[in-house]
Amino acid sequence: MAIKRTFLTLLSAAVLAGSFAVGSTTKAGAEEAHFIPLLVYRSGPYAPNGIPIANGFIDYFTLLNERDGGIDGVKVTWEECETKYNTKVGVECYEKLKNKGTAGAALINPYSTGITYQLIPRAPVDKIPILSMGYGQTAAADGRIFKWVFNAPTTYWSQASAFIKYVGQQEGGMGKLKGKKIALVYHNSAYGKEPIPTLEALSKKFGYDLKLLAVDHPGQEQKATWLQIRRYKPDWTFMWGWGVMNQVALKEAAAINYPMDKFIGVWWSGTESDVVPAGDDAVGYKAGTFHAPGANTQLHKDVYKYVYGRGKGAGEKSRVGEVLWNRGMLNALVSAEAIRTAMGKFGKKAMSGEQVRWGMENLNLSKSRLKEVGLAGFTPPIKVTCADHEGNGPVIIQQWTGKEWKFVSDWISPMREVVRPMIEAAAAKFGKENNMTPRANCM
């Protein structure tokens, strides 16, 4: 009997909770406010990366509310949902949050390439724009097919071409690339495979030899990979890694005495949580990025004053200014600026996804505007157009000194003449397979 009773109790609990869950999807809050769903991963295998990103986001929104009373007077609200970096959980989170707030979700930052791929087909149906800043599907840069997806300021393909440009500069001219050997160590997933077409196309153009080395998720075992690198003796090694894979790669590279200053990581492989665990082995390692490291801007001072000074910080004060905190903050800023742009057209009220999409497409984060928000010199201007959802932003190379990341190059513009046609071809192929026709009204 006891068993049955427990079972029935649990069953009734489940039924009760089920009815609660229905209630949760109703719209909450009467006050006009922008609603931004946040898909975060503060637990699970990638939590060391997820925590600073999420804190950067929240700290910036808190700053807007505390310092300015929201965006042009309309408060920002948000709700976190834990995805554990798991695609299925992320989709569940998205479904849960998409209709909340007075005007529904303004935009979504999936913060995982897997979740981005899931949401891209849903965005036009739900009318919620996706901002996948520096990740996700590169082809989405073609705004004529991907009306609802934005990956400004720059993409993996642009970054790969900038890396080749950087290598050319270091070698003393693009002509010197001929006969050079470049290895790519990549996470064996959609994310890791992103740069391959660009690097292959450029290898044909400049005549370098490219070796592709896949590392299976999660990447804790790379002995064989680095043995191959030792045999192949590449002049330069690029890495498209994520999470624990990065630290392991740095240690393995040091173990075979690979010169660290010839080892360049993608912007997701160039954070404190990648290099600090590798200790001295990581000194000299380089990575691409699209914004400055450190907490040296006016905006950071404001965050200290208005957010942490008032005890409203999302994380530890000492971690403000970490690479991923800065990236989360910049991502929040771009989101907020898109909302602000939309408010300029649609008026002072909570923005819906459809309105923010317009704002995103007309986003012009000029140099003077960046100075106004307190980010002078932090990142180059970002301008999105109807056809170009990437903005073709430049990439910069930073190097780990053992204590901090330092810029070691100028801003490098990607090879647009190579990358853009590839993006358009990939987008057209995607459009064809999904019966989509490009929008005719832009360009």
Binding site: A21, S24, R42, A426, N434
Partner: protein, 358 residues
């Protein structure tokens, strides 16, 4: 009082051999099916369809598939994710190659291809048993995913290796693809699950199911009474993989919409195995209960505390969810090692005596 079979006399063999011989059971099952088809579409919202009902149906299908193999025929398999991947990728390849072919037929064809692959990887089961067989099926899991990741033909040479469900209609209604409504996808999934559950239910009580169980309980004895292990075991692999293949196609087309091989990784195999262990080995009902337990409980645990008024940091909540989930698995396995289906059966037996137990 209400649940009593007294007075229900069977006057024909057909009546005696019915799937649900007891009138109340039959009425209950029909009521559930009608409810799922006629009432649920009107009361559920997108969140329920997309996050709860569709994954539940997809995993029920996979769990039935594995239960036929492991629960009924006694062949332990860790290749479920791989066989699901075969279904998903083959359905994708076929529908992109023949866009005009009915997508529902493609699901079945994808299942058939998965069945062939299942037979291939089932051949070792004739020589090896138990944990050793689990290892060879594990090889299937890794080999299949490696193949789909390695050979660009399987994902139509997309640079990212991601396959996406293209829009396809049946009788003018958009069934799959991003613009299809979750309700339609739910109804398609439900139809597949209902049809194939009835098929499975009939299969396991007939000659085939009985020979599976004979092999499971003692294969030498089964051989002596005239059951051929070769055919019977391979048939179990084929039918099980067919179910998994269809489940994989549903997983990609009706639930996820787009996926890479990582979506079918080893965790899927483990999840489905846990479903049938917790739900009940050798029970069709158990497959559903297990699928509900594994797919829905984490969602319930995430959504419950905020509704009860506990607000806590999201990471703490996520950790508590994992702890509770693990504790509940242990609790149920201690209380009833034969799974939730057995609890249900005990409940039914008690119900027969209620309210006057002796």
């Amino acid at each position: 009082m209400f649940y009593r079979e007294a007075g229900q006399f069977k006057t024909t063999y057909a009546g005696d051999q019915a799937v649900f011989p007891i009138l109340q059971d039959r009425a209950f099952v029909i009521a559930v099916i009608l409810f799922a088809f006629l009432v649920v579409p009107f009361i559920a919202d997108d969140y329920w369809f997309q996050a709860i009902l569709i994954p539940f149906l997809v995993f029920s299908m996979a769990a039935i598939g594995l239960n036929l193999l492991t629960g009924y025929a006694g062949q332990l398999s860790l290749g479920t994710g791989g066989f699901m991947a075969v279904g998903g990728y083959m359905a994708y390849k076929m529908t992109t190659a023949f866009p005009d072919l009915n997508i529902l037929i493609i699901f079945i064809l994808a299942g058939l291809i998965a069945a062939v692959v299942g037979i291939l990887f089932g051949i070792p089961s004739l020589r090896i048993k138990g944990f050793y067989l689990a290892v060879t099926t594990l090889a299937a899991q890794f080999f299949i995913l490696w193949l789909f990741n390695k050979v660009p033909w399987f994902y139509n040479y997309f640079s990212s290796g991601v396959i996406a469900a293209p829009p396809r209609s049946v009788a003018g209604i958009l069934v799959v693809g991003p613009a299809s409504t979750p309700m339609v996808r739910y109804l398609v999934a439900l139809s597949f699950v209902v049809v194939f559950t009835l098929a499975a239910k009939n299969l396991v009580r007939g000659r085939i199911g009985r020979s599976w169980m004979a092999i499971r309980d003692m294969d030498i004895a089964a051989e002596i009474i005239g059951i051929r292990p070769f055919q019977v075991k391979l048939l179990a692999f084929a039918i099980s993989s067919f179910y998994c293949g269809v489940a994989g196609a549903m997983f990609l087309f009706l639930y996820l919409g787009s996926a890479e091989t990582e979506a079918f990784n080893i965790n899927v195999s483990f999840d489905v195995l846990f479903m049938i262990i917790i739900g009940g080995l050798g029970s069709i009902l158990g497959s559903f209960l297990g699928a509900a337990f594994i797919t829905l409980l984490p969602i319930l645990l995430t959504n419950l505390p905020p509704h009860l008024g506990f607000s806590m940091p999201i990471d703490l909540q996520s950790h508590i969810e994992v702890i509770t989930f693990g504790a509940l698995i242990i609790f149920f396995l201690i209380v009833e090692p034969h799974g939730l289906a057995r609890l249900w059966q005990i409940g039914k037996e008690k119900l027969r005596l209620w309210p006057f137990p002796y």
